[in-house]
Symmetry: C2
Subunit: 313 residues, 2 copies
């Protein structure tokens, strides 16, 4: 897919200075020819967020998109599918959207503090088995035999490529990730948030805190929602809220609960004057959609359909 | 700077499966609406490397470039300068080079293992003070007063933007980073390695291990070198080896030693039939060049000069 860009680059936003004191200096051989006394004390930037941006030559008259990845992943998830096809990022650019891709605080090129006192707890990782049922490729009981759900569309022949893109996550950092996202929104200006999975929690909190910087909201199976009492005409009216949900939502109690929470949120948004819709992908012609719908075999079709929803009010 | 790309995307390469066993399952509230029993046991991919690629529409008949960042940084260092100008990546694309940017194993979007037994030791970070003299912006004694070296070209008004791009590094992972880089070279095919700082150590080792996949080598103040006994006609003859070195190399014993090692390496490469040059930036019209010459105020001019060196054999 050809890309013609008027601008491309990156920046870091947010964060704060963190002082470290009282640690011993130690000698480190960085390379055989570069040994240094390393002083672990001093001032460090922590809790910043990395944003990579792409501005199409033929830019649409529309708010920019800001893509917010989910837990255990980075902004790389939007670029290329595990089977090597162009990711949703390409479709958004092809449609003329200035598109910003964040690595949430702690993730990917945002980095993390080496001082373990900055955040509570240690990071965790997602195993091949945990992802299997969580992402609704198959039942947990069918993992060993790799029997997928009938009709599911994730390209399982390339499951290893998905697993290689997993990175660690802390479980205590949502608030600093919200702050990082808000710093990105302040830099970019009013934009449409496109939030996947845990990114839906981060994005919802940012959207409630700074409704002035949110032109629209796309939840791609977001797993977090604005609290009921935060949904007011002031925070949600007069802009689109699209909640995309895939297939097999009865697979686990987690997904059953998320479907209920998503439908309730859409009702609350509509009641408060938001232009909100629950978009059931199977009903819209995409049966077999998994939690990783931006990587499913029909991700191109889903992207084109989503773009049409975004550009046709 | 306009970019017209025939291709853009990313992939992960290398790595291995790592099994974790015997850890207790624990309940985690990922979001207020998504609580899960998280099993930390299972199979995880570790030591993979992330590569982002850009293929110009008007591609030059030349080997692709593979940009290898230095310690404590990620591939983001090539994209945009701290003062917001286009980074060297743009210049390479503008000159028609297919360009691949790696996040070395452990860094950025490559991720790291949460199991602390996989790598020795804990990661370290670079303070604002350590970078100040290490990157030759100023003398350590002048850090508090922020008195730079006379004539140095780093945009110090944007020092904070550089600090925000720092990420942790382990000090025990060079060999797995070499393996990750070789996996990238195997995927890309013969290419010219452009290696900054610690990337020079990683790149040198990869180049000696797989000379068949190296079409050329650019050391941008690389801090590691091929061992003398690895430099043979088989590993180095018939291809360019450019060693860029900036100003103020007498500032510290580290840089004094690196200048000597660089000059000795160039002599050995020439003796073995390599087309090797020590390129003293002040001599070539760029006085004041720091260790971060790809971010210096005259980084555009240095990039254009480097591109001319690359395309004029």
């Amino acid at each position: 897919m050809t890309l013609r860009l008027a601008g491309f680059g990156s920046f870091h936003v947010g964060g704060r200075v963190h002082d470290v004191r009282g640690e011993p200096v130690r000698r480190i051989n960085f390379t055989p020819t570069a040994a240094l006394d390393h002083d672990p004390n001093g001032r460090f930037t922590v809790e910043q967020a990395y944003v990579q941006y792409f501005i199409p030559e033929q830019q649409r008259e529309a708010p920019p998109l800001l893509l917010v990845h989910g837990g255990g992943l980075t902004g790389a998830m939007w670029e290329t599918t595990p089977d090597g096809r162009p990711g949703w990022l390409h479709h958004f650019l092809d449609a003329g959207f200035a598109t910003y891709v964040i690595d949430n605080v702690e993730r990917g090129r945002s980095g993390f503090p080496v001082d373990e006192t900055v955040w509570d707890g240690k990071p965790i990782a997602r195993s091949d088995r945990e992802a299997w049922s969580l992402f609704r490729f198959g039942r947990d009981a069918d993992f060993e035999a790799r029997i997928p759900l009938p009709g599911q569309r994730f390209p399982l022949a390339h499951y290893d490529a998905l697993l290689a893109s997993f990175v660690p996550r802390w479980t205590s950092t949502t608030q600093v990730q919200v702050a990082g996202l808000i710093a990105a929104m302040e830099r970019i200006g009013p934009c449409t948030l496109v939030c996947h999975s845990h990114g839906g929690d981060i994005g919802s909190r940012a959207a409630m805190a700074r409704p002035d910087l949110v032109a629209g909201f796309v939840s791609v199976e977001g797993t977090g929602f604005p609290p009921a009492d935060a949904i007011t005409p002031e925070t949600v009216a007069g802009k689109p809220w699209l909640y995309l949900m895939g297939d097999y939502l009865d697979l686990t109690p987690l997904w059953q609960g998320l479907e209920v929470a998503t439908r309730e949120t859409v009702e609350r948004l509509v009641a408060a004057g938001g232009s909100a819709e629950y978009l059931d992908l199977p009903e819209h012609g995409f049966p077999g959609s998994t939690h990783m719908m931006m990587m499913d075999e029909n991700s191109d079709e889903i992207a084109r359909w989503l773009v049409r929803r975004l550009v046709t009010p």
